[in-house]
Amino acid sequence: MYSQPRSDPLEPSKFFKNGAASRPLVPGTVARGHLDADQAFYQGAIGTNFVEEFPMPVTRQVLERGRERYNIYCSVCHGAIGDGNGMIPQRGYPHPPSYHIDRLRQAPVGHYYDVITHGYGVMYSYASRVEPADRWAITAYIRALQLSQNSRLDDLPPNERVKLEAQNK
């Protein structure tokens, strides 16, 4: 009874060659409800052209989800503000580029989706851990970070500007 003759997740098995009870998916498997036909949303590109616009509405909720996921999966390397100065590069990992350089500020949103899905250079793919909706949420949050590092006082709504100016006095 303590160990029943069944295989739980992550249990070893002598039956299969690689020693794991869980089986990998057969290539080409499509789970029910996951045809993922919407190319813009699931590939981040139509054909070979990265999408320029978010394929879903960007709400406050999406941004907050994005911030949470960014801080779990990306900030250890890219840093909390996206300057590429996270904890891991400080310990000798290659420095990622800052998100605030011109090339990346101009890059289409589809590029970010693509980097998370397929990796880029020495950076691995995060597709197995970050699902498509979260990849877009992270992308939206990166856009917010880029805005935050490159905005001027005039960009703020008047009431926020008054608040900030009051703080600076």
Partner: protein
């Protein structure tokens, strides 16, 4: 008819009765003590691993979130142990020639998962689910302790039925705000019980059925 037993026998009989009582009590106590001893429960005993993976270093020192590695903890019954690929997101560039990581590299090269030794292992007749606990405001550290101080992983609780029930009878004693679930250094506030009762209500914790046998033995 001659006397069969010598006078002394009375004393021997009394002493032996007392001895049997003492022996049974001592035996019972010994059984109880060993059942709850670290030797049996493995509580606070660090478990050896093929690679001395340190939560103290990776979480406490580097600040890597639990979910970076234990990806499914929020949405599935099991938390998941990271595949070799996850280690390689960093160790393809870091510590690449250290012998300490040789088993990880070998696992990647031969496409064979690492064999970590289990630290927590409930009997198969018990049903447990991480996602419900995490979404209802039970933090990792309530069950797994101060992970950020563990160079090797160990258990801080027995995982016996008694332990589960202690909380299931009154979750208000341990429940915390959802934002604090992944905060390993969270401490209960002075008014924990009052706050706990409120959270139990806010999160719609199904407190009435939590002690039903069928909850955990399905």
């Amino acid at each position: 008819m001659p006397q069969l037993f010598h006078r002394r026998s009375n004393t021997i009989a009394r002493v032996s009765i007392l001895a049997v009582v003492l022996l049974v009590t001592a035996g019972g106590w010994l059984l109880h003590a060993s059942f709850w001893s670290p030797y049996m429960t493995k509580v606070n005993v660090p478990i050896e691993q093929p690679v001395p993976f340190s939560h103290e270093h990776h979480y406490g020192g580097l600040g890597i979130d639990c979910r970076y590695c234990h990806t499914s903890v929020e949405k599935s019954s099991f938390a998941g142990i990271p595949p070799t690929e996850t280690c390689m997101t960093c160790h393809s560039q870091l510590y690449t020639d250290q012998p300490i990581l040789a088993p990880v590299r070998e696992s990647l090269a031969t496409d064979t998962p690492m064999k970590w030794n289990r630290v927590h292992d409930l009997p198969d007749f018990v049903f447990f689910n991480h996602s419900i606990h995490v979404t209802k405001g039970i933090g990792c550290s309530t069950c797994h302790g101060q992970v950020q101080k563990m160079p090797l992983m160990w258990k801080v609780n027995t995982l016996y039925m008694k332990w589960c029930l202690d909380c299931h009878r009154d979750p208000a004693k341990y429940i915390r705000p959802r934002e604090e679930v992944f905060n390993m250094s969270w401490l209960p506030p002075i008014n924990q019980l009052a706050q706990g009762r409120k959270l139990v209500k806010d999160y719609h914790v199904n407190a009435k059925q939590l002690t039903d046998c069928s909850m955990c033995h399905r």
